[in-house]
Subunit: 160 residues, 8 copies
């Protein structure tokens, strides 16, 4: 992440990876304040065994693109809502020029970034694939339960 102020948002990603038992590390690396650290981290990522990178940043959010420029590891970008409802970060991450993609998720979409990261790892890990199928079932169960709660809401003419 570009700053520890992004931590409250990004915790959702850490939590999901932890639940899925995926080893991960967390770093605060600013594309603008510590460009050398970003470069050092990115240049060494592949040989250190890192297979997916999630990069979160707000405002003129350059971190995901700057990392993607220096690696061929898939980079997932999370636009952080810090100004203009997050629209600036969204465009600064999404609208990458031809050659250097960033896999962008929703504004403040930290959990989705982690899910996408696990989906990527699961493309070559059948066990993880099964875990993801189970996670998907769980999502359904929650909505089904929510639907049951709705059946308890009472109106005279409500029939379902």
């Amino acid at each position: 992440m570009g700053s520890t102020s992004d931590l409250p948002v990004m915790e959702a990603a850490a939590k999901f990876l932890n639940e899925m038992k995926i080893p991960f590390e967390m770093n605060a690396l600013s594309a603008h304040r510590t460009p050398e650290k970003v470069e050092e981290f990115t240049r060494n990522a592949h040989k250190r065994g890192i297979r997916v990178i999630i990069a979160a940043a707000g405002m003129a959010a350059h971190l995901p693109g700057v990392i993607a420029a220096m690696t061929t590891i898939p980079v997932i970008g999370v636009p952080i809502k810090a100004s203009l409802e997050g629209l600036d970060a969204m465009l600064a991450i999404l609208q990458m020029p031809p050659g250097i993609p960033v896999a962008t998720v929703a504004i403040n979409g930290a959990q989705n970034a982690a899910i996408l990261a696990v989906e990527i790892l699961a493309t070559s890990d059948p066990e993880l694939h099964l875990k993801m199928l189970a996670f998907k079932e769980e999502l359904k169960t929650k909505v089904v339960k929510a639907n049951e709660e709705l059946s308890k809401v009472r109106y005279e003419y409500k029939v379902g």
Copy 2:
């Protein structure tokens, strides 16, 4: 893709996959006009050996999200510019709710979608990883050459 009218944009993806010698298929499947076909395709994708899906759509672009809802295979979304400068498709693909990510790339970013797909495959394929490093070098070469052309532009006070 949601419609064959997206083909002129999506050709860039096919071309890149072909260059990288990645076997791929192309389908026109509309989330709104052929929902059963979309479901059939998506439900069978994993067992048919499909490892990454690129879904392109314009306007209220539901195709990528609808596919992502029915699989845990990574889904890459390409917003097609058909109205409102592509802003509607971008938001309809990117702003997915928690649980169901779509890896969104730039508006009309077909080539980047293909590059991202190959990066994902390369996470478990060292040979493909090397190919991607070579591709990245090529990108540099083009810019370096472009820079050389700039040196030929003449102005009296231009020194570089």
Copy 3:
């Protein structure tokens, strides 16, 4: 609705239908988390006697369009304000491609969705039509009363 978190907004629709004595049911069905439930609900809607569907969703709001894709029953879409001031949900519901319309109402416009539903039912129900005329008169009365309150606001040079 796509999630029970939409209930505080959608209550206004339930309340209006109840006042108009229109039998209705409420469901939480997520286009992304429970696509099969959405399909099951929509495929059976016509034979179960459902004549209008109101679908509410936020962010990349696919629910109304996904339902509209599988039925010819009129579908009314309510964009829920969850991010970007509701702009993302609005575009994801409104900008449907040719062939599959969604009758979109204002952001968080739950009551208007219900009024529109009753207007549709009233096209073939003269009694309901009379009820709607009465409702419209009531709306006027409220504004006329509000105007009377304004006449009590005092300024030295205010004459009306």
Copy 4:
């Protein structure tokens, strides 16, 4: 429609209604230039047997809302793209205040407006309902055919 300059867009609606053999009339009525004509038309619509109204307008598009204010017949609004990519018309039609809904369709979505109108009429007309089901099948056929065309596009590594 608010102006005959909207005719090239609105022809798609006329064509669809004609194909479905739905009797219809076309009027140019400006909320701003001929408010009396708009009022006369709307006040008499119900007794003249009009059951659905499609209103199209661009810029500060008041026509749909102004008509909806004077009737309980369902009003379908079509934002015409005349400036600001149609965003102004879209908001001026969609964002109606509580009490007076307009069933808004996509920018320049004339055909969808007509389809929605027929869907509304079909709620009380089983024969029309069957016609709409047939229309929906046709939409599918077109996409299926388009998909077949895609199978003819050749790339060395393309397999589908």
Copy 5:
């Protein structure tokens, strides 16, 4: 104004007119809920001696345009911020088609609407013109005083 909920914003207009000793009246007239009252008010405005009309409305703000359609009295429009930061009301008031202008002021710009109204009246009232010049001087005085306060803010290297 379209609704008494606009009163907290519009009070600034009333207050300014009162200070300038301009006789005025206040009405709640909804373009959508009481179209007949709007018409009655507007058709009679000129003969009742009304020389400028200020119309405020939010969301799909039709009131100013609907009034302007039925009179040649100058109509000043105030977009009320009720949704989308006021952007919807702003476009629905400002983007009037050729032939029917509305003199639009800033979002929630009630005081400016009143100032503009007095400027219009002052075009044929030399005494009022002098009053407006005095008001303008007062505005300056406030900024000059604010500047003096700034001189009291202390920093070691601040020199002015």
Copy 6:
């Protein structure tokens, strides 16, 4: 106007004023390039008998606001579409701070600016008021005639 490049748009204003036989002058005065000329023009406007000012500008359109800052004559602002669909000019003219209103019309709304100017002059000129009523009737006639043309458009099921 801020630049003679605005002339093709602003001609519509000149034409309308000419038709109404209102004496007027045209100036190219840039708030940014000739601030002294703008000041000279504005400071002398009232004593030279100018009663309404129409100011047009594009991009960061300061001209209307800068003129309004130096006079109490009503200033009508015309946002010229030069970039960002005219959105920048619109906001730079409309969103004036409390104390200094600009009567803003639609993007490129030159004719409407002239109509508004005449409406303002007509507040104290009964003859001009009659002319404006006649102009308004003419607008109606055009729409009525357009409606007649629509009656000539033929479809088998078209009845009106």
Copy 7:
């Protein structure tokens, strides 16, 4: 700044200049309410030894552009967030026409405006250049420390 209400934002600029021991002055000068004061200040700025001007304003933010029109001293513009998330001020400052640039920084970016001002002064002041290099090092240290804090966040599968 255009108003003392901008002071809470602009304090960050004053603080930075003070830390860097750059003599500065603060003024509240409104382009709209005190145009003469703005002119007086700007016309005398160069001869008074002012080398860089920071101008902050909100809404239709004309102050930076109006100052830039009357001087060749570099003018740095700070859009103040007062309405529309600061978008109006941003466009009104940034989108200057050819000939009169304003060096615009982020919405509410007061500290960045001051940093930019010092960078400009440092182009001809080697000592100041060294101070800026030290400041940049400090920025890094903060991020590095933040990164260390992240290492203390505990998850079972977190490894870095």
Copy 8:
């Protein structure tokens, strides 16, 4: 510039610097395709005597911010219009986080970037300052001449 495709826009900058007889160099350096070249250029810029940097880029325009991250030389950013009317590039350049400013000019504002660069150099170069004053006079002359052309436009009621 980020790509030679930006050259047609950026020529205006080169031309102005040449006219002002300011030695300059032009480079195509992509933040995403040649990050090492960008770093090499930026790290050596100060010792090579570069005193101002103009960086132009489109889409997710990272080049100006990435350069600013590695130097304390003032960096002027030019958003290039390549998609979304240039809005994405504008936000990606302007909305820099605290600590690392980019002096942003208008979309495609290449000439203004060059003028700003010369203004910066002129802060310590009295001769250049005089040149800039002369340039400013020239701008005025053009508008004054344009105004004279306007006086030749004929309308019966035009008096100025």
